[in-house]
Subunit: 434 residues, 2 copies
Amino acid sequence: MSLLLKNALILQGNDFSPLHGFLGIRGTLIDYIGETRPSFTYDDEKDMENAILIPGLVNAHGHAAMTLLRGIGSGLPLDRWLNDAVFPVEDRLTADIVRAGNALALLEMIACGTTSFTDMYNDPDVLIGQCMGCGIKLNIGRPFLCFDPEEKLEDSFRAREAFALYDRFHMAADGRIRIEFPIHAEYTNQSEPVRLFSQEVKKRGGRIHLHLSETKAEVDACLAKYGQTPPEFFASRGTFDNPVYAAHCVHLTEGDLAILKDHGVTPVHCPSSNMKLASGAAPVRKWMQEGLAPALGTDGCASNNNLNMFEEMHLAALLAKIQSADATALNAREVLAMATRNGAAAQGRSDTGVLSPGKKADIAAVSVKAPHMYPDFDPAELLIYSAQGSDVVLTVADGKVLYENGKYLTLDREEILKEAKKAVRQLYGESNGF
Amino acid sequence: MSLLLKNALILQGNDFSPLHGFLGIRGTLIDYIGETRPSFTYDDEKDMENAILIPGLVNAHGHAAMTLLRGIGSGLPLDRWLNDAVFPVEDRLTADIVRAGNALALLEMIACGTTSFTDMYNDPDVLIGQCMGCGIKLNIGRPFLCFDPEEKLEDSFRAREAFALYDRFHMAADGRIRIEFPIHAEYTNQSEPVRLFSQEVKKRGGRIHLHLSETKAEVDACLAKYGQTPPEFFASRGTFDNPVYAAHCVHLTEGDLAILKDHGVTPVHCPSSNMKLASGAAPVRKWMQEGLAPALGTDGCASNNNLNMFEEMHLAALLAKIQSADATALNAREVLAMATRNGAAAQGRSDTGVLSPGKKADIAAVSVKAPHMYPDFDPAELLIYSAQGSDVVLTVADGKVLYENGKYLTLDREEILKEAKKAVRQLYGESNGF
């Protein structure tokens, strides 16, 4: 299959340089970008009516199934939110409920231009199957947690499942599915098992995703237990000898920053979640001054409460400015890079994240027809400060159209909403008029 | 005319208490709210399909014509943004260009559920005419500025125009148009003229809107000039002996807070603009601890860069939490109150801002059909953290439908977009592909 997108404003290359014209897709790849119509033919063409084309958004940290916990315990302080609201519900999750929550998340993400995401949750095989079917890209694994400091790796069912999942699904669906090795967090793990697990990952050339230094309480507890910050803990256990991307990284010492830099760890900024849970403002500018290339994520729906990367981009830009008392902090192109090629790089996807010929055709098209999208002084600024997720009119992953003008091409919206309602009734009962 | 909205989730009364059922509109008023169908008949009825009904949003601080400056000079520091980007363009504005910018703003505000707004800009009579036509509510006046400390009020064309505008239009269009007496700011005024102007306003029982303590530089300059903070400056010149609502109020001393409290000044929070220009985080929690009832505004499009009150509500909630390191700060109902009845009260509109029988039928309906609006644990939370401006499906002011499912009933969208393009060409030339 081949498809020509015409009459589009293409933010191409690493600097999102705007070009008005044509973008050609052949198979899974972008095969042409230019101001003039290419000489070769395409099976189909679409008039984009001046829509802005950007690389498909990469949501580099989330928990898809938690859409069914959207807004749960909202307004509670973090410890009560987790213990009184989130955990008791998670305790009742079944694979069917997880499937229903995942599907709802897929609807939301695809409609807002997300073409690839990283997930960390139980029952990863359920989500893998769903993503193979619907065409979106997924980085996932069986999260490693360990509560027994003496546990041998061969006795850990989580470790066994993590490696089995890798053997079974890594690079499935033409590489759209990537299996990685999430380590949930320091505070849900033990010293020696983390060392052994990290070693095993290294043997396989694997990639690690984890939660890191999200709250001050987490850092304080780690210091009390090990005399180390969470980055020191992971660095000294060999975890960071693997490619790592770490969600949050809010509370970092200068030493922590140096560790992240030395090991090339990618921080994943989750501004909505950090603000809503009052965890703190991640030092994004400092990360970048250290030469790190941060990615961006929504985190789970329970602490966001949505999966809209346009909101994350907007918040990232605004939060950096007020945090540093500098209106020039984190410009629009830097934010776009976080949400696209930095996320792709964190996921180990060097074949995407940029609109250039030869790259995978992972694309979001943003309409400029709404009154709030005019005038356009700079399309990157317009995307970060004025656009809404609802302005997305086309989502393409690996050259396949997943979403167009409100219609899902690979998902059954009505069926998914029906299943979500069923799952919510199972999870919470008939109360509250759900 | 009468209209019955059925099958709606109505957030009624001062506590936004949810009631599923019927809301009746007769003439300009809400005449019924109840779970059961009212016994009297209506000319028309609409099935709201479970949409959430809230009081129409009140945007309590903005500069509508500046939509044509959307995103201008973005990323520049405040002084260069104003001097190099904004002022040279404003210098070229004509009444026709202002009209085109206003109309674009009206499209955007009405589509996002705003039913009343406060504006401060030149050529107020242009906007008054437009708002009389399209049915939205407007508080506006001729802004008072003064650069000659010796100027007599009778020699000030601005003062003369301010009072003439009041005499001509105050309470026009059945009270939808309210003329007030904006004093632009301390830094664009002089001591004695402000005193005299404030005195004249008091004689008329007028209302004052102003910019107050937006940046630290403004406060420092005021201290250097008068040995007073901006609130001290205005209080000691009698300005606060009038009903006043003041945009920003970011940099306040404890003494300033006491002044605002003693005089019942309403602060108008503008989180997007304060974040984008790196002005600082307004002490919203402190305002509320003093018993103030803050309103909410978008500010102008040039520093936002949109007029979407759903974004302001979301940002207000998130910013308060990270600012106070407390996830319980500024709950969803408090934010909704800021955006509705507090704004209405600031505008002097005691007849609206709440969904109750006998109040004006100023209503926004928010669809819950999109995947990101499910599940619903608490409709107020859902509106603040999950909803998008694009979820608004119905906007009603004084009982008149202004917008429904993407269609404008009192504005010609295509004509306005055409005029906006013409105005942008006039303002900026043919450059940049506008």
